[in-house]
Symmetry: C2
Subunit: 330 residues, 2 copies
């Protein structure tokens, strides 16, 4: 179901916080704040991730010149068990909060829901997501001290947080419509190849959106998934071509945009709730503001497994949520 907003809702402000590898990537200069120690003054990696969320939302609110009480609802999520990065990171804000879990799709999920909330209530809404390489590694894979090796199809969890303010106040970037994804199980069970697990979900959402819109991918200026990485990106291009909806000319992926593929040894690219959030806030949305991107399909992709489900031999379901953003003058 494509949900076209009934009122004009705009992306009023956004901010991104990042770590060392993100600073060294091609978007490093565009973050609002970087801490190369990736600790953000905190004692544990989990609390460092929470602190990134706090700083990202603070920065976005400041840019929009809004206070807590101006925000009607806050949509937030992360990859940690029980989504504690959001719970603890956003505790100091006096804003009603809706907790989400959509794995790496949460940035698009939260922006989509915030836009719907703003449409329905007329009050500004906020969206925040994060991921942290060090907290994710020890939760999903191995403690850093173990020095585990990664396969070529593996992605690296981005250390970063992005925050977004949606409001009725006119600004260059308008949310046209949103579409939520169906969970798709393509029977991939390799936890080091989440791109392949998520690509069919991206294709499902994107092709449904084309069908319901009566448009073709090339009718859009830019289509960006986040974050399928190299493997999922290539698979998505192939599957869309098989559906007679080629996307190569307009397509990119947040997992490929966040790091240098040549000089940074990041295998298949970036991943994590923070990846598409920071790529949106440091590149895609600034490019929309400057007019470089005319309209954008921003498709968050998530792999819905847990370490327990993987240990129990279940395959990895993927999901993809879409947000269609347009230049107001486009």
């Amino acid at each position: 179901m494509k949900i076209t907003l009934q009122n004009p809702v705009y992306l009023e402000a956004y901010a991104a916080i990042g770590g060392k590898a993100e600073k060294e990537g091609p978007l490093g200069a565009y973050f609002d704040e970087i801490d190369e120690t990736e600790r953000f003054g905190q004692e544990t990696w989990e609390q460092s991730e929470s602190e990134m969320q706090r700083r990202a939302l603070s920065a976005a609110l400041k840019k929009a010149n809004l206070a807590d009480q101006d925000i009607g609802l806050l949509f937030a999520g992360d990859l940690m068990n029980q989504c504690t990065s959001s719970s603890y990171g956003l505790l100091s804000f006096d804003i009603p909060q809706v907790g989400l879990y959509g794995a790496c799709s949460t940035a698009a999920e939260s922006i989509a829901l915030a836009a719907m909330s703003c449409d329905l209530t007329a009050r500004p809404a906020a969206a925040v997501t994060s991921s942290h390489f060090c907290s994710a590694e020890r939760q999903f894979r191995y403690p850093l001290e173990y020095g585990g090796q990664r396969t070529p199809t593996a992605q690296r969890t981005v250390t970063g947080s992005g925050a977004f303010i949606l409001s009725r106040k006119k600004s260059p970037i308008r949310v046209d419509s949103v579409m939520f994804g169906r969970s798709i199980d393509s029977k991939i069970s390799d936890i080091c190849n989440m791109g392949a697990a998520m690509a069919p979900a991206a294709v499902d959402t994107l092709s449904r959106y084309m069908k319901e819109s009566g448009r073709a991918p090339c009718d859009f200026h830019t289509i960006v998934t986040g974050d399928l990485g190299r493997e999922g990106y290539e698979l998505t291009k192939i599957m869309m071509a098989q559906k007679k909806m080629p996307i190569d000319a307009v397509y990119d992926d947040c997992g490929l945009l966040v790091y240098h593929s040549d000089i940074q040894d990041m295998h298949a690219g970036g991943s994590g709730c923070g990846c598409s959030a920071v790529v949106g806030a440091t590149k895609l949305f600034p490019d929309m503001e400057s007019g470089k991107i005319k309209d954008l399909l921003f498709i968050g992709t998530g792999a819905l497994m847990s370490p327990t489900s993987v240990q129990q031999g279940l395959s990895i379901a993927g999901i993809a949520h879409l947000v269609h953003l347009t230049r107001e003058d486009f």
Copy 2:
């Protein structure tokens, strides 16, 4: 922010699935399906919980005589790491899905969002949540085989799942308004006393709702929190009295309604994402349909910690989301 729906949205159908202890409780006769083995034909407790979600939604859809494609959006969540009970349990449904995490508040959170979605899009929306004693014990506390003892303030995770269909089709129960909670840290760090950790959040949401509505608790027929248990229930009564908003005459708690306090040895009562869901579907909403309850404030309460955050010494933040349901003829 109290969100009053702009169109009439109704609770069209609902269903509840439960386990052995729930069958032996006062609501046992009103479940749609019970499996006393609590396995639901599955090999692991996690998959048993997923299967409950699948059966709950199937039953609710059947009652509403709706197919997958009739549902615009599905809002779901649970207590498992990365919310896998929902991801895997609802995989067989061909419905776009929004993943949520709100700890034990998720039933109210999902119903509130489904109602907003139905208001905005006119399409029916579904809400599903679950919890399972056996999957929760080994994730949050100890494996069952350990035979851990529980303190008097501890609650028991309900084995159950509830599913709810919200639509524009006129039926006796209408959703009047919803209000999302702020996360409140009352500095409780005892993981065996989540009632005390959550009660301040319930009081915050309830008192904000009274203020924004210009009403007093006694103006409502029934106010039910879910699920504070004995400790949180008593604290909520005291704190509301301190705010000059006594609620004793109209107040109950799902954690107290789900088990017999005398003959079932459940300490402070029930808890878990499934608790308020099954109490809603087996008692509160049937009582509304029969006219026994005229209008209802259904307040889901959640404790937003994880085992990791507790081990790291953080206190437990609480959150409470409210749904105001009325009899259409009231």
